[in-house]
């Protein structure tokens, strides 16, 4: 039950993009087409879950016992950067089709603040390893949901007549605002 609550909270109530503003860059940058945003969401889910697990273990078994909490930011970003590289190499070797699908999105994920953000939030919320993983899964579903909804709307927006000054990013941002407004309706769920 507890896990269900964490997932619902992460997907709908505190949606990572629309309520917490993490991962806005890919949300605006690669959401032009539904197919690319599906690929990006898949890659983010992959890295986010692994990164949360690894950073949790490092925080609780290396940083905390030795009193190195102040190194958190440096360690986490290095872990995430090398993890992304590693995932890329492994995928290339064992699953070329998956690599083909996710490949171009993987390097972009290092600078996706959703990954570092969720890793730090998991530590701040004092989650156990299992709760942390569930939280990461929930957040990546939330990211995927926002991303795919938004790209679907943007595909239609391309065909609409928008006032010249608002075309492109400004209109997309206002659509994002309306989407965020819709997600605020879920606030009562938690």
């Amino acid at each position: 039950m507890e896990y269900v609550l964490i997932i619902i909270g992460a997907v709908f109530v505190n949606n990572i993009v629309l309520a917490q503003f993490l991962g806005v860059c890919p949300f605006l940058g690669v959401s032009g087409k539904v197919s690319t945003s599906v690929g990006m969401s898949g890659a983010v889910m992959f890295v986010l879950v692994i990164a949360t697990m690894v950073t949790w273990l490092i925080q609780n078994y290396i940083l905390n016992p030795f009193g190195l909490g102040f190194l958190q930011t440096i360690t986490f970003i290095l872990v995430i950067a090398s993890l992304v590289q590693m995932v890329e190499i492994i995928l290339k070797k064992i699953s070329p089709p998956l690599y083909q699908a996710l490949g171009i999105f993987l390097p972009l994920i290092t600078t996706n603040c959703a990954v570092l953000g969720v890793a730090i939030l998991t530590i701040q919320k004092d989650f156990s390893l299992m709760e942390g993983v569930v939280f990461a899964v929930g957040n990546s579903i939330g990211f995927g949901l926002a991303m795919i909804l938004f790209s679907g709307i943007r595909e239609h927006l391309e065909l609409m007549e928008v006032p010249k000054g608002m075309a492109g990013v400004p209109a997309a941002l206002i659509v994002g605002g309306i989407l965020a407004l819709a997600f605020m309706g879920f606030t009562g769920l938690a």
Binding site: V24, C25, I77, L78, A81, P170
Partner: protein, 202 residues
């Protein structure tokens, strides 16, 4: 002399990191619930930008090309940790407000972007000026965004009430609360980008 002024001012409007280059949008949207928060975040980022630009342009000749990105990230992360600890010590209230977004300066594309595009090719002095200019542009954008959201959403600016909204029975102003919430951030930024586009196209 001209190039110094140019380096310093290009970030303000012409190459404004937020309104024109669309970099660093996560903290831009996340922390700008008031003008003070926006300014605080902007200045913290400016400090990191200046220091990392300076260090990177100092060590640029010693870093092998292949590992330069990880090396840049470590330098940036160190300065972010410095800012994080300093703010925790001296500006506790602001640190609490900005919360998660302070460590997230590490993954702010502006910082790594300037390191890669400017500091790794130019001398120390120019790099510091570039960092300062870009940082001030970022601060300006965040303060404007925060100010507009604060005026519309809380009826105040820098915490000073403006009395522009009608009041209810208890004397509290009836404001457009949606602007301090998440949707307001997207909508105000959308309009500000459209306005900047208009100004720059002239």
């Amino acid at each position: 002399m001209n190039s110094i002024v140019q380096n310093l001012t290009k970030g303000l409007i012409k190459e404004n990191p937020v309104f024109v280059l669309l970099l660093g949008l996560c903290p831009t949207l996340g922390v700008t619930t008031s003008a003070i928060n926006g300014l605080g975040m902007g200045l913290a980022t400016t400090f990191v930008l200046m220091m990392s630009n300076m260090s990177i342009s100092m060590v640029k000749n010693f870093i092998p090309d292949k590992v330069r990105i990880p090396a840049f990230i470590v330098i940036i992360a160190s300065f972010v940790t410095v800012v994080d600890l300093l703010m925790q010590g001296y500006l506790q209230a602001l640190h609490g407000q900005l919360g998660l977004f302070i460590p997230l300066i590490v993954v702010n594309c502006i910082v790594l972007g300037r390191a890669e595009a400017f500091a790794s090719k130019n001398n120390i002095f120019d790099s510091i000026i570039d960092g300062l200019g870009m940082g001030l542009g970022f601060s300006l954008a965040l303060t404007i965004l925060g100010g507009i959201r604060e005026i519309l959403g809380s009826g105040a600016i820098f915490g000073i009430p403006l009395h522009i909204f009608p009041v209810d029975d208890k004397g509290n102003p009836i404001t457009m609360i949606v602007f301090v919430l998440a949707p307001g951030a997207f909508i105000v930024l959308g309009y500000l980008i459209a306005i900047t586009k208009k100004i720059n196209s002239k």
